[in-house]
């Protein structure tokens, strides 16, 4: 059915709430990327089949009167490490590592007898945690943008409406003027979540002020930063929150068309956004004369084709136009001439998802979360060598140690923390000395890192920081669009130097050259991505200079990651002279007499490590 005015919308909302209440029990199977990979679709189908067999299934449809059980696909529930995850309401029981075989027990015990299945629950010491609030990973978080992600059916607009969705759009379109909305967003001091932290309200007002018949709203969902999946999780966990933010944005800057640019590596996000757009059109929340306000707006979804640089605003709009995604010189800025040369309001997924909350609860409330200059919350993807990998959301200004140790649960395998890369290939690393650092735009900038889109890759003591720098440089070099010389040539030269260093061919002069190149690129590259490409090198040189020195002076890799810098020796005390190593060696570098200790000729050795595997006595040692 289509709603033509706010009264009709409210009727639908009441009916949706009623229908949701009729589901006395609701089972949410996490269908975020991680859990899907771990087999959650199979669990969803199995639960649905078993519940249907018992005749208890109810979908949220407006006409349904009878009471029953709802089985739903939700977005990311956060703790990807322990997936697949299943949550049962109204008890709020949170199950981990659920298997298809567990479905019968969940139904028998929880759905029919209201009892928890404790063996599937989180254990904190000897305590069994029944609900997420008992688990430190969740209890330390403030979930605003991700609040409903994992708690609503991500493929059903009615659930979003039942939980208050689209009321912010109703309020904005019918009770506020575009100027008032821009003003409210400005007052809230919402800053762009894409990385730079540019004040969203200022951007919105600038687009509104443009004198043009045609304007566009563009949502940047090209989360190319390796190690980050927050935007993807919002798009596939709560796609309507993004659409609602965009509708409000469209009205606020007088645009009638919106585009969402999603990276092609997120097929789930593409499918769920497409479905969400269709559902919103069907009910009249997208299209002509939305809620009788006289405002018309529609959204198209564009799939990226694998280019990191398309996360840059002018490259992104080029790509939507069907061109090579190459940044151009600014000004004119995107707010003046963006998509098809028209004024364009381009924001990141998470920024848009914040908007409905601000419109509903006000700028004052929003500013009460987090620090004065970076209010609100921030979603982070915490990954790497940490116990609890997954998706989290905390108030801006949360201390680094709280994120890594309280929420992340510390480093896995009892290893020591070494560094955390924040902001991906454009960001920098933070070390032990930054544990008390609040995570917000300005504090991070001061130490040479940036919040970026919010990827946090934790690295333990076994990680070689020079190799990490080489890894990022390899990434940005490959992704350089090639338009400007500093980025195209500069990153290539930096990569060559770094490759030389990890191969044991580096010199002290190389470090000076790296610094000089980094300085030139960051001050002369055309776009933001080029300017920040040297950041990982600058920050590792700053905080781990001794590691670089070990590579270039002593020709040693302290963490033994760089194979070219390691050598193998046979421990005479352990060697029994069995000759297995010599037979395994492809370079005939090992010689010796049977039953006497063998020796490795390091000039012939190609460091393949075959001898290490071949030795039954663990006598071959890497030094």
């Amino acid at each position: 059915m289509k709603v033509n005015n706010i009264e009709q919308f409210e009727k639908v909302a009441v009916a949706a709430r009623k229908a949701l209440e009729n589901q006395e029990k609701r089972v949410f199977v996490c269908c975020g990327t991680g859990c899907v990979a771990a087999g959650s679709f199979g669990i969803y189908e199995e639960l649905k089949r078993l519940v249907a067999e018992k005749g208890l299934l109810v979908d949220v449809v407006l006409e349904a009167e009878e009471k029953g059980i709802g089985i739903k696909k939700s977005g990311c529930q956060g703790l990807c490490q322990l997936g697949p995850l299943v949550r049962v309401e109204p008890f709020d029981y949170q199950y981990f590592r659920v298997d298809k075989q567990d479905c019968v027990e969940i139904i028998e015990k929880t759905l029919l007898q209201n009892q928890p299945v404790e063996r599937l629950m989180y254990q904190s010491g000897s305590r069994v945690c029944h609900t997420p609030v008992e688990i430190p990973f969740y209890s330390e978080q403030t979930r605003l943008v991700l609040g409903q992600c994992g708690q609503i059916d991500c493929e059903n607009i009615m659930e979003y409406i039942a939980k208050g969705g689209y009321t912010a759009a109703g309020k904005a379109l019918l009770q506020m003027t575009p100027e008032q909305i821009c003003d409210e967003i400005s007052k809230s001091n919402l800053r762009g979540r894409g990385g730079g932290g540019y004040p969203a309200g200022r951007k919105w007002s600038q687009v509104l002020a443009q004198n043009s018949e045609v304007k566009y709203v563009v949502c940047n969902g090209d989360e190319g930063d390796p190690g980050a999946f927050m935007d993807g999780s919002v798009m596939d966990g709560n796609p309507h929150s993004v659409l609602e933010g965009m509708i409000i944005a469209g009205y606020a800057c007088k645009a009638s068309e919106g585009y969402i640019y999603v990276r092609a590596e997120y097929p789930l996000s593409v499918a769920r956004l497409q479905l969400a757009v269709e559902q919103a059109r069907e009910i009249g929340l997208l299209g002509e004369n939305i809620l009788g306000s006289g405002f018309s707006f529609d959204i198209k979804i564009n799939k990226g084709a694998g280019a990191f640089v398309c996360g840059e605003s002018s490259a992104l709009t080029q790509s939507i136009e069907g061109e090579r995604g190459m940044p151009r010189v600014k000004p004119p800025r995107t707010v003046e001439q963006g998509l098809w040369g028209k004024p364009t309001m381009l924001n990141n997924v998470e920024t848009f998802a914040n908007v409905p909350h601000i419109i509903l609860k006000g700028a004052q409330w929003y500013r009460s979360i987090g620090p004065e200059n970076s209010p609100g919350t921030k979603a982070f993807a915490i990954t790497g060598n940490v116990n609890n990998t997954g998706l989290i959301e905390v108030p801006m200004g949360t201390l680094l140690k709280e994120v890594i140790f309280d929420i992340g649960g510390g480093i896995n395998d009892g290893k020591k923390f070494k560094a955390v890369q924040i902001g991906g290939p454009s960001g920098g690393c933070l070390t032990e000395t930054h544990m008390e650092l609040p995570l917000d735009f300005d504090s991070l900038k001061k130490v040479g890192a940036m919040i970026g889109s919010g990827g946090l890759v934790v690295m333990d003591e076994d990680t070689c920081m020079v190799e990490v720098a080489r890894f990022f440089m390899n990434f940005t070099q490959k992704e350089s669009c090639g338009k400007c010389v500093p980025c195209r040539e500069g990153t290539k030269r930096m990569l060559e130097i770094l490759e030389g260093i990890v191969a044991g061919k580096g010199s002290l002069e190389d470090l000076d050259m790296l610094e000089e190149l980094a300085d030139t690129i960051s001050s002369t590259a055309l776009c933001g991505l080029g300017k920040t490409a040297p950041s990982p090198v600058i920050s590792t040189l700053k905080y781990f200079r001794d590691e670089y020195l070990a590579h270039v002076v002593q020709k040693k890799c302290p963490t033994r990651n760089c194979k070219s810098l390691s050598s193998f020796v046979i421990n005479e005390a352990l060697c029994k002279g069995c000759s297995k190593c010599a037979k395994a060696c492809p370079a005939t570098a090992i010689t010796g007499k049977v039953k006497e200790a063998f020796v490795i000729n390091n000039r012939k050795c190609i460091k393949c490590g075959a001898c290490v595997e071949a030795c039954p006595f663990s006598a071959v040692e890497e030094v």
């Binding site: 990327t33 991680g34 899907v36 990979a37 771990a38 990807c80 490490q81 997936g83 989360e223 190319g224 930063d225 390796p226 190690g227 980050a228 999946f229 993807g232 999780s233 092609a264 590596e265 997120y266 097929p267 564009n302 799939k303 990226g304 084709a305 694998g306 280019a307 990191f308 790509s319 939507i320 136009e321 069907g322 061109e323 090579r324 995604g325 190459m326 993807a381 990954t383 790497g384 060598n385 990998t389 997954g390 998706l391 890369q421 991906g424 990827g455 890759v457 690295m459 990680t463 990490v468 890894f471 990022f472 990434f475 992704e479 669009c481």
Partner: protein
């Protein structure tokens, strides 16, 4: 002229976008998913049909990493080498598969066109690192051994 019996879907795809030039990327994506790559004669056909120079189509097709101008294998293995997978040791997995399939940095597809090996920068499943993707299916928390097992299983199924 395009041999339409060889590429029956092409005109339908172009018509689906109303021969609109700005939908070039979307068209190429559909063509690639139909044929696994972008055949040259199809690109020539698009050039005349939507009236843009072949050089322009070529420039777009070579810019984006997802497009391939060479035929790919039946099974496309994507190894994630995003930051999270990288620190969780994705490279040994890549090396093992390369060795197993006899591939190297310039040869990505096996001679029998059964496998194509690619690295990707991030699949968004960082919580389960390291991951590999085989024809869209994600395999989580891989090791060189478990990756070999996946390949062995495919080979066995294929030889049946």
């Amino acid at each position: 002229m395009l041999d339409k019996s060889k590429y029956p879907e092409v005109d339908g795809i172009l018509a689906g976008y109303a021969y609109n030039r700005s939908a070039l990327i979307a068209m190429l994506q559909e063509i690639q998913s139909a044929y696994n790559y972008l055949p040259e004669e199809v690109l020539e056909h698009i050039s005349t049909e939507i009236d843009i120079p072949l050089s322009k189509i070529f420039s777009v097709a070579t810019f984006y990493e997802n497009f391939s101008l060479e035929p790919k294998g039946k099974y496309i293995i994507k190894i994630c080498d995003g930051t999270a997978c990288h620190v969780k040791k994705s490279i040994p997995i890549l090396d093992t598969i390369k060795k197993e399939l006899g591939l190297n940095s310039s040869k990505h597809t096996t001679d029998d066109f059964l496998f194509t090996l690619e690295t990707v920068s991030c699949l968004g499943a960082c919580g389960l690192a390291p991951v590999i993707l085989v024809n869209g299916k994600v395999y989580a928390k891989m090791t060189p051994e478990s990756a070999l097992a996946v390949i062995k299983e495919i080979k066995e199924n294929e030889s049946k």
